[in-house]
Amino acid sequence: MEETEQFIMGDTACAEGAIACGCKFFAGYPITPATEVAERMAKRLPQVGGTYIQMEDEMASMAAILGASWGGLKSMTSTSGPGFSLMMENIGLGIIMEVPCVVVNVQRAGPSTGLPTLCAQGDMMQARWGSHGHYEIIALSASSPQELFDITIKAFNLSEKYRLPVLVLTDEVVGHMTEKVVIPPYDKIDVYPRRISTLPPEEYLPYVSDEDMVAPMVGVGEGYRIHSTGLTHDKRGYPVITAPVQKEMMDRLIYKIRNNVDDIVKYEEIEMADAEIVVIAYGISARPALKALEMARDRGIKCGMMKLITIWPFPEKRIKELAPQVRGFVVPEINYGQICLEVERCSAGKTEIVLVGHAGGAIFHPNEILEVISRL
């Protein structure tokens, strides 16, 4: 297969990314503006020997991808705000059972039904904390169809490497935007394979981890006769309802991510060498922010940009480094301040932080961001 260039929608690019890295199962439920991901998967999966199933709701979709992933298939679902809320239940199950899978949220404006056909970035904190209990999650963000293609592959790889559901956060504008997407030959794509234990069944325990705190898996139906539960469990996978076992399990769920943030966290820096004012942006808002940066540079303002690719875990190390060195951070996002709170936390009062907020339903005009940059 040759490298191809396709002129496709963001949602379609997301589905193509999944197919390109070997996704073989998709369970979903129609929802604007994520429906096109499901539609593409319904068409493409049978062509590559995979299965698309439309479930009765998003709780079932999420449960089905966990089951299929245990069965050995790379699995994905996609949704938007209302469906994302319903998926929270089994995202938690995926976290505690440690099941690799990918959940795409093409964000629309909420709360509730909100603006089904118009964009927002209001689910950033829900992605972080939406399921009950304390946990670590990985969430990636995309601001173009090409990035959606690339990041979907990256999400699958991280989910296999760290054994957890990985979230892909984009928004209605990126999802429905049509642009050129370069699709490399599939054999040139780096695919992180499932971590499979080589131990025989009598020695294998499902939650004994490797050095990086991630436990290798085994196949279902291969004689290992594993048990996995949503209850707090020990190394055998057996429920143990005590505080010490809760701590042992939680430490691993938390630190398998926290100890590996340098491997997980990715961002791009633009014009940062002499930057005094740094725009921290992600998703669709990174695009008008980039234009605002160019306009600010034209006016002689020393402006740079940090474009977030990994949202969770938050790239706090870099922001802590930058805070004492810059005059201010400008955070444009289509909500009333979510990632901005994280930037404030990491800056710890060492620089000025200005939120450029938006209620949703439209994207920023570069002038709105430029105006704030100019005032700082």
């Binding site: 299965t51 009765e56 449960a63 089905a64 938690g92 279902v220």
Partner: protein
């Protein structure tokens, strides 16, 4: 793999006859004295034992509740999932592992109240799963609250004056939604129940076995049904076997009459049959 025969093991001290299917390192179990889940669980394990299917080809999925704990006690690939979601989890696993026998073992509240929508859709798809439902008419684990299976006027902790809602007829609902196999027994119909579970394993498509069960601790006490043995003897006494009747006529009145039997045993194309029917032309068109 070599299976141990039940008879061979019977004489051995300290070992359960089905111990090769039990995680005996997890005993004692959480079920109350007098609870019927153990009987149903044992019937299920006996059916697995007698099926002549390799144990490694089975997986057991449960939801939440007393019955949901079954997955944790069976020494097979087993998953204890979220409340009501055992069936969609099993659906995903079955699609990934179509040759495996996937058993969903759970309770009435889990499968039909919080999980009712998943149940009817899996039946509609004729997804190749075996569903074993412990119907004890209540939420046992949380102390006996009203469920969609609680009989009219029955007392529960959340219907202190008696249940003012009408319950589902689970067998009728399964049949109406498209199940290929539907049976109902009480926990004293042990041999018939075990045979039904065996038939359900061998049935292509969605098979459903409802087991009328006592919950002496919660439902029994609140409704003054007497000691555990008395309750199941009563259920057995008032039960009438009516095989092959239309499940809408399968009356379930725990005071007067419990209709039991095998109500549905039909051939219907499964999810996988229809998938194969629809998709080969696409593959052929593309020259694969």
């Amino acid at each position: 793999m070599k299976k141990q025969g039940i008879k061979e093991l019977n004489g051995m001290p300290g070992k359960h006859p089905l111990s090769d299917l039990l995680r005996d390192d997890r005993m004692p179990h959480i079920w109350c004295p007098g609870c019927d889940i153990g009987t149903i669980f044992a019937s299920c394990l006996t059916a697995i034992h007698e099926s002549n299917i390799d144990y490694n080809d089975f997986a057991v999925i449960s939801g939440i509740g007393c019955s949901g704990r079954a997955a944790g006690y069976v020494k097979l690939d087993s998953f204890h999932t979220t409340h009501g979601r055992a069936i969609p989890f099993a659906t995903g696993l079955k699609i990934a592992k179509p040759k495996m026998k996937i058993i969903v073992f759970s309770g009435d509240g889990d499968l039909f109240t919080i999980g009712g929508n998943h149940f009817i859709h899996a039946a509609r798809r004729n997804m190749d799963l075996t569903i074993i439902c412990v119907n004890n008419f209540t939420y046992g684990m949380t102390g006996g609250q009203v469920a969609s299976s609680t009989p009219f006027k029955a007392r529960t902790s959340t219907t202190p004056n008696g249940n003012f809602e009408r319950p589902f007829n689970l067998a009728y609902m399964a049949a109406a939604a498209g199940a290929a196999y539907v049976a109902r027994w009480t926990t004293l119909h042990v041999r018939r129940l075990t045979n039904s579970i065996l038939e359900a394993f061998n049935k292509k498509g969605f098979s459903f076995v409802e087991v009328i069960s006592s919950c002496p601790t919660s439902f029994g006490r609140k409704n003054k049904l007497g000691p555990p043995l008395h309750i199941i003897q009563h259920f057995h006494k008032i039960s009438v076997i009516k095989n092959s009747i239309h499940p809408k006529d399968a009356n379930l009145d725990i005071e007067k009459e419990i209709v039991v039997g095998k109500f549905v045993d039909i051939e219907r194309p499964t999810f996988f049959d229809l998938w194969e029917e629809i998709y080969p032309p696409i593959r052929e068109k593309r020259g694969e």
